[in-house]
C-alpha cells in the first residue's frame, strides 16, 4: 500500500458521546463484518470495558474504504483509552496517528476529558476533525456546540461534520473527509525498521501480542527484531491486522498499524511506548520520543477475607499484571487484616477495575483499605523516602518535612456551577490558578493535593455540579504540608489498616466523622465497642457501638435440625466479609468508611 493511501486516526470522545457506535458504523460501511457478525461495540472486548463504556486496552481496526475518487484507501482506526487514569496510554495511541476525529455530543457539548485528549492530540501535531454526533436528537444544538469547540479547544469548527452514528446519517461523509483532510503517514519505506509499540497484552494462546505502528522500513514474519529498552532480540512468529477479524499477514509496511507476536513472555518485555528495530539495531536508530515507565500514584492494601486464599490472590494479581504493566504489588502484612498485598494503581478508576476483576473473574473475596497517595518524607537524617502506606509513616520525631503530591486539575463546567465547584475546591485545599469564560462554559485550573481527590472529590464534584462538570488532572510536584497520621483504635487496639494521613486543620472534624461512620457500619456485638480517633497518643474523638442485648433463636423448631442450622449458616455467611480484629468483627465497609468522611452518606 502506498503511504498516501493510508490514513491512521483515532476517535477522541467523552464516555457516552458515541465513539463505539461510530466505529461500528465505519466497520459496517466498509464491509469489514457481515451484518450478523456485528456485535454491538466491536472495539470494547473486555466485558467490564463494555459495561462501563470505557476502553482499557488500545485496539485497532483496519478498514478498506473506496473513496468517491474511485481509489481504495487503508484506514487504521486506533481506539484510545478514555479515562484520566490512562493518559500515558492515550498519548501513545495518538502517537500512532496522523489525525483524530473529535466526537462531541451535539446535545451535551465538550467535556474536560475530551478537551485534555484533544490538547494532547494537537500537541502531537495531529489534524483534528470535529464531528458533532447525535444530531438527530431533539435537543441537539450544533451551533452552540460548534462555538464551544472553537472557544474551549481553539480549533476551527466551521466545517465540523454533523452526524448521527445511531441512524447512520452523515457517517459516509466522515469517511470521505478522513481521506481529504487527514494527512497520510510519513516515513521511508526503504529505510531501516523502526516501529512504535502502541500497546501490549497477554493472550493465553499467543503469549504477548503488541500493537505496533511502523514508522520506517517494514517488519516481516520470521524477522529478528530488537525491543530497544530491554535490548533483547526476538523472532517474529506471527503478524497481522484486525479487519476487524484477525488476519495474519507476512509483512507490515511503513505507515501501517498491526499486531506482532514474537515469543515475548511478559508485557514487561514489550513496554508501551517502546521502539522496535531490526535485531541488534544495525542502523543505530534512536528511540522514538515519549517513552516512559508509568508510576502508580494511588496505593491500597488488599487482603483476602479468608487467609487460605492468599496464594490464589497472588496468582490472580500476577495474571492481571500480564496485561497491565501499571499494576504494582508487593506483600503487606497488616496486624488487623493479616497477609495481603499493597497494590499500586494509576488512579481511582484503575483501582476500581482491578478490584472488580479480582472479585468477578477470579472469585476472590477481598477487603480493600482506603486508597492512599504516595508521600515524600524528608527524614531528620537527610534521607528522602516515599511512603505509600499511612501505617508505615515514620515517627513524627524523625520527620523533618512531609510532602504530599499536588496535581493540576482542569474543571470544565457550565457557568451556573462555578460557585459551588469553587467552594468544593477550596474545601479540598485547592489553589485556583486560572479561570476562563468560554462561551457558556467555564474552565477552571486549580492545584490541589492529590490526597483530597482520592478521598471523595469525584463524587462530590458530580453532586455539586449535578453531573455537568468534567475533570482531568496531572501530577505536578511534591509539596511540603502540615500533615498528621490519624489512627483509629477499636477497643483500644490500633487498627493499622484504618490509619490515614490528613492535614492537621482537618484532623479533628475528620476524626469525629470517622468515629461516627464506624459506629454506623460496625454491627452491634456481644459487648460495647469503643471507637477512638487519635493523633499520636492523643485521643481526639470517640464513639461507642452499644452491645447487642441478645442474639438467640427463640423457638427450637422441635426435631427439625436442618432449618435451625440454615439460620446459623446464614448468620455465618454474613460474617464472611468481616475481619476479626481482636475480639471485634469489622465489616468491609468500615475500611472504606475512611473514604467518605466529609459529608454524611
Amino acid at each position: 500500500m502506498r503511504l498516501d493511501h493510508i490514513r491512521n486516526f483515532c476517535i477522541i470522545a467523552h464516555i457516552d458521546h458515541g465513539k463505539s457506535t461510530l466505529a461500528d458504523r465505519f466497520i459496517q460501511l466498509t464491509g469489514g463484518l457481515e451484518e450478523r457478525e456485528m456485535q454491538a461495540q466491536v472495539l470494547d472486548n473486555n466485558p467490564i470495558e463494555r459495561e462501563r463504556g470505557i476502553t482499557i486496552k488500545a485496539q485497532s481496526v483496519q478498514l478498506h474504504y473506496t473513496a468517491r475518487n474511485g481509489e481504495r484507501y487503508q484506514f487504521n482506526l486506533i481506539d484510545t483509552p478514555g479515562h484520566v487514569d490512562f493518559s500515558y496510554e492515550v498519548s501513545r495511541s495518538l502517537e500512532a496517528c496522523e489525525g483524530a476525529l473529535l466526537v462531541v455530543d451535539a446535545s451535551q457539548g465538550v467535556e474536560a476529558q475530551s478537551v485534555a485528549n484533544c490538547y494532547t492530540a494537537l500537541d502531537q501535531n495531529l489534524e483534528v476533525i470535529p464531528v458533532l454526533n447525535k444530531i438527530d436528537l431533539q435537543n441537539a444544538e450544533p451551533d452552540r456546540v460548534r462555538e464551544e469547540i472553537e472557544q474551549v479547544i481553539g480549533i476551527s469548527a466551521a466545517d465540523a461534520l454533523k452526524v448521527s452514528a445511531k441512524t447512520g446519517l452523515g457517517v459516509a461523509d466522515v469517511l470521505e473527509e478522513v481521506v481529504l483532510r487527514l494527512p497520510p503517514p510519513k516515513g521511508n519505506p526503504d529505510g531501516p525498521l523502526q516501529a512504535l509499540i502502541v500497546d501490549s497484552w497477554f493472550d493465553n494462546y499467543l503469549g504477548v501480542v503488541s500493537l505496533v505502528r511502523v514508522t520506517s522500513g517494514s517488519v516481516k514474519k520470521g524477522q529478528k527484531i530488537r525491543v530497544m529498552s530491554t535490548g533483547r532480540d526476538h523472532e517474529i512468529t506471527m503478524l497481522g491486522v484486525n479487519a476487524p477479524k484477525r488476519l495474519f499477514k507476512d509483512e507490515l509496511q511503513c505507515g501501517e498499524v498491526g499486531f506482532i507476536v514474537a515469543g515475548i513472555k511478559d508485557i514487561f518485555g514489550a513496554p508501551v511506548g517502546d521502539t522496535l528495530t531490526a535485531a541488534g539495531n544495525p542502523a543505530g536508530l534512536e528511540a522514538l520520543p515519549g517513552f516512559r515507565t508509568v508510576q502508580p500514584r494511588v496505593f491500597a492494601g488488599m487482603f483476602p477475607v479468608d487467609a487460605d486464599d492468599f496464594e490464589d490472590f497472588r496468582e490472580s494479581l500476577q495474571k492481571l499484571r500480564l496485561n497491565d504493566s501499571a499494576l504494582q504489588f508487593e506483600p503487606e502484612n497488616s496486624t488487623a487484616l493479616g497477609f495481603g498485598f499493597r497494590v499500586g494503581f494509576l488512579g481511582m478508576l484503575h483501582m476500581d477495575i482491578v478490584q472488580e476483576r479480582l472479585e468477578r473473574e477470579y472469585n476472590l473475596n477481598l477487603i480493600t483499605t482506603a486508597p492512599s497517595v504516595v508521600y515524600e518524607v524528608l527524614r531528620t537524617d537527610g534521607d528522602v523516602v516515599k511512603v505509600d502506606n499511612p501505617a508505615e509513616l515514620p515517627e513524627p520525631g524523625s520527620i523533618d518535612e512531609l510532602r504530599e503530591p499536588i496535581i493540576s486539575a482542569r474543571v470544565l463546567m457550565p457557568q451556573s456551577c462555578v460557585g459551588p465547584v469553587m467552594q468544593l475546591c477550596m474545601e479540598k485545599r485547592g489553589v485556583q490558578k486560572n479561570l476562563r469564560y468560554l462561551g457558556s462554559q467555564v474552565q477552571m485550573e486549580v492545584e490541589m493535593p492529590m490526597a483530597e481527590v482520592v478521598l471523595d472529590f469525584f463524587d462530590r464534584l458530580k453532586s455539586v455540579s449535578r453531573g455537568y462538570a468534567s475533570f482531568e488532572y496531572e501530577f505536578v510536584r511534591f509539596q511540603a504540608a502540615d500533615l498528621v497520621k490519624l489512627d483509629v483504635l477499636v477497643n483500644g487496639d490500633k487498627v493499622d489498616a484504618l490509619a490515614t494521613i490528613v492535614h492537621r486543620d482537618n484532623a479533628y472534624p475528620r476524626g469525629r466523622d470517622l468515629c461516627e461512620r464506624m459506629q454506623d457500619v460496625i454491627h452491634r456485638q456481644m459487648f460495647d465497642i469503643a471507637i477512638q480517633a487519635a493523633i499520636g497518643a492523643k485521643i481526639i474523638a470517640r464513639s461507642t457501638v452499644k452491645a447487642l442485648r441478645k442474639d438467640v433463636t427463640a423457638k427450637c423448631y422441635g426435631g427439625d435440625a436442618s432449618r435451625k442450622r440454615k439460620l446459623l449458616e446464614k448468620q455465618k455467611e454474613g460474617k464472611k466479609r468481616m475481619k476479626q480484629v481482636g475480639s471485634v468483627e469489622i465489616p468491609q465497609e468500615a475500611f472504606l468508611a475512611v473514604l467518605g468522611v466529609d459529608k454524611k452518606k
Binding site: 456481644m526 433463636t553 427463640a554 423457638k555 426435631g559 427439625d560
Partner: protein
C-alpha cells in the same frame, strides 16, 4: 444397648386458619366448617409408623409422645385414642411416659379434653400467645381472652394435671406494661410449665412479607428481663432459652431433643432422628398433607433420609445442648456423637471469650453465651 432415650413426635398438619407469624408445616382447612380427614389421616400415621419400624425395628420403650401441629385438637378424642392405643401395640411405653397434645385454647376443642385424658394424654400444651384481644386478632388467632380462661378451666376440670401455656412477647406495638399484664394474667392461671418466647418474624410468612411495627431491641430486652424476673418470683425456673417450669415439670419431650436423644417423626413434614451403631440418621416426611395421605406407609412418603456426618455432629449436638441453662454432660456428648469433646478446637475460643464454662464434667453456656447463643454456635460451624 444404647442408653439414649426414644421419643415419638406425631404431626397433625391442619389448622382452622394460618397465623401470619407461623412458618410451621400447617395448612388451613378449606372452609371453616370443613372437617379434617380424621380416619384417613390416622390410618396414614399408623402405616407410616409400620414402615419406619419395618425399616429399623425399635426395642426401646417410648419415654414421651408429642402430638403437635397444626392443631392436633381439631382431631376428636376418639381419633387420638385410636392413635395412642395403636402406637402402644407397636411400641412399649415407659412407665412414666409423658404424652402431650397441643391444643388451641378454644371452646370447641375444650369439648374433647376429658376424652383426651381418657385416651391417655397426660399433658396439655395450649397456644395462648397473648391475653390482649386486639393483639390476638392481629396475630390471626381464632380465640380470645375469655376463651383462654374458659378452656384452661375446662382442661383442669377434665383432669389435666400438667399444663403448658405458650406466651409470646415483643408483639406488634406491645409496651412493657402490656407485656407485664399478659404475663401476669397467665401466671394467675398457675400452669406447671410456661414457654415464654419472643415473636420472630420468619421469611415466607405473612408477617415476613409485610412486617408489623415491633418493639425495638432495647424494649424487647426490657420485656424479656421483666418476664424472667416475674417468672422467677412465681417459682418458674428457666431451664432453656424460652422454657420455664415449676420443679419437676420440665417438658420431658423437649428435653429429649435438647439432650440429643432419639425420636421417631411420624406425620406430614415430621422430622425424626435415630442413632444406631455410632451412626446418626435423620429422616423427614413429605410435607404436604395430600401427598402424605397418599404415600404414607411407603418410601415415597420419605422426603429426606440422610446420615449426619461426623463433621456435622458437634454443631447438631451443641445447637440443642447449649439451649439448656445447664448445658450438657461431657459423657453424653461422647455417648451421642461418638466424638471426643476435648479435641473440639472452637470450644477453647468460646471459653476464652467467656461464652462457655466447664465444671464437674459438664459444659454450660455462660450467661453471656446463653444470651448470644447464635454467635456462640457459629464458632462451631
Amino acid at each position: 444397648m444404647s442408653a439414649i432415650d426414644l421419643a415419638l413426635y406425631l404431626h397433625f398438619p391442619w389448622c382452622v386458619q394460618k397465623c401470619p407469624y407461623c412458618d410451621f408445616n400447617s395448612h388451613a382447612l378449606r372452609s371453616a366448617d370443613a372437617d379434617v380427614p380424621e380416619t384417613a389421616y390416622v390410618d396414614a400415621l399408623l402405616r407410616d409408623l409400620d414402615f419406619e419400624l419395618a425399616h429399623t425395628p425399635e426395642p426401646r420403650p417410648l419415654t414421651s409422645i408429642f402430638m403437635g401441629g397444626g392443631t392436633p385438637s381439631l382431631f376428636s378424642d376418639r381419633a387420638i385414642g385410636r392413635v395412642l392405643s395403636e402406637v402402644n401395640r407397636r411400641l412399649a411405653f415407659a412407665p412414666d411416659i409423658e404424652i402431650t397434645l397441643e391444643a388451641n385454647p378454644g371452646t370447641a376443642e375444650a369439648a374433647h379434653f376429658a376424652g383426651y385424658v381418657a385416651a391417655g394424654v397426660n399433658r396439655l400444651s395450649m397456644g395462648v400467645q397473648s391475653l390482649d384481644n386486639a393483639l390476638l386478632k392481629r396475630l390471626g388467632r381464632i380465640h380470645d381472652r375469655d376463651e383462654v380462661f374458659r378452656a384452661y378451666e375446662l382442661a383442669r376440670a377434665a383432669g389435666f394435671g400438667n399444663i403448658n401455656l405458650d406466651l409470646m412477647f415483643a408483639l406488634p406495638e406491645q409496651t412493657l406494661a402490656g407485656a407485664e399484664a399478659d404475663l401476669r394474667g397467665v401466671l394467675g392461671l398457675a400452669p406447671e410449665h410456661l414457654s415464654y418466647y419472643q415473636l420472630t418474624i420468619e421469611p415466607n410468612t405473612a408477617f415476613g412479607a409485610m412486617p408489623p411495627p415491633l418493639p425495638d431491641d432495647e424494649l424487647a430486652w426490657d420485656i424479656q428481663e421483666q418476664g424472667q424476673r416475674l417468672l422467677a418470683e412465681h417459682g418458674y425456673a428457666q431451664y432453656e432459652v424460652s422454657a420455664y417450669a415449676r420443679p419437676g415439670r420440665r417438658a420431658r419431650h423437649n428435653l429429649n431433643y435438647w439432650h440429643f436423644g432419639d425420636y421417631l417423626g411420624i406425620g406430614a413434614g415430621a422430622h425424626g432422628k435415630r442413632s444406631a451403631d455410632g451412626v446418626v440418621r435423620r429422616r423427614a416426611r413429605t410435607k404436604h398433607p395430600r401427598a402424605y395421605l397418599q404415600h404414607a406407609g411407603g418410601p415415597a412418603a420419605v422426603q429426606e433420609d440422610r446420615i449426619v456426618g461426623a463433621d456435622e455432629l458437634p454443631i447438631e449436638f451443641l445447637m440443642n445442648g447449649l439451649r439448656l441453662n445447664d448445658g450438657f454432660a461431657i459423657a453424653d456428648y461422647a455417648d451421642r456423637t461418638g466424638l471426643d469433646w476435648s479435641t473440639l478446637a472452637p470450644a477453647e475460643t468460646a471459653r476464652q471469650r467467656g461464652l462457655l464454662a466447664e465444671a464437674d464434667g459438664r459444659v454450660r453456656p455462660t450467661e453471656l453465651g446463653h444470651r448470644h447463643l447464635n454467635g456462640l454456635l457459629t464458632l462451631f460451624l
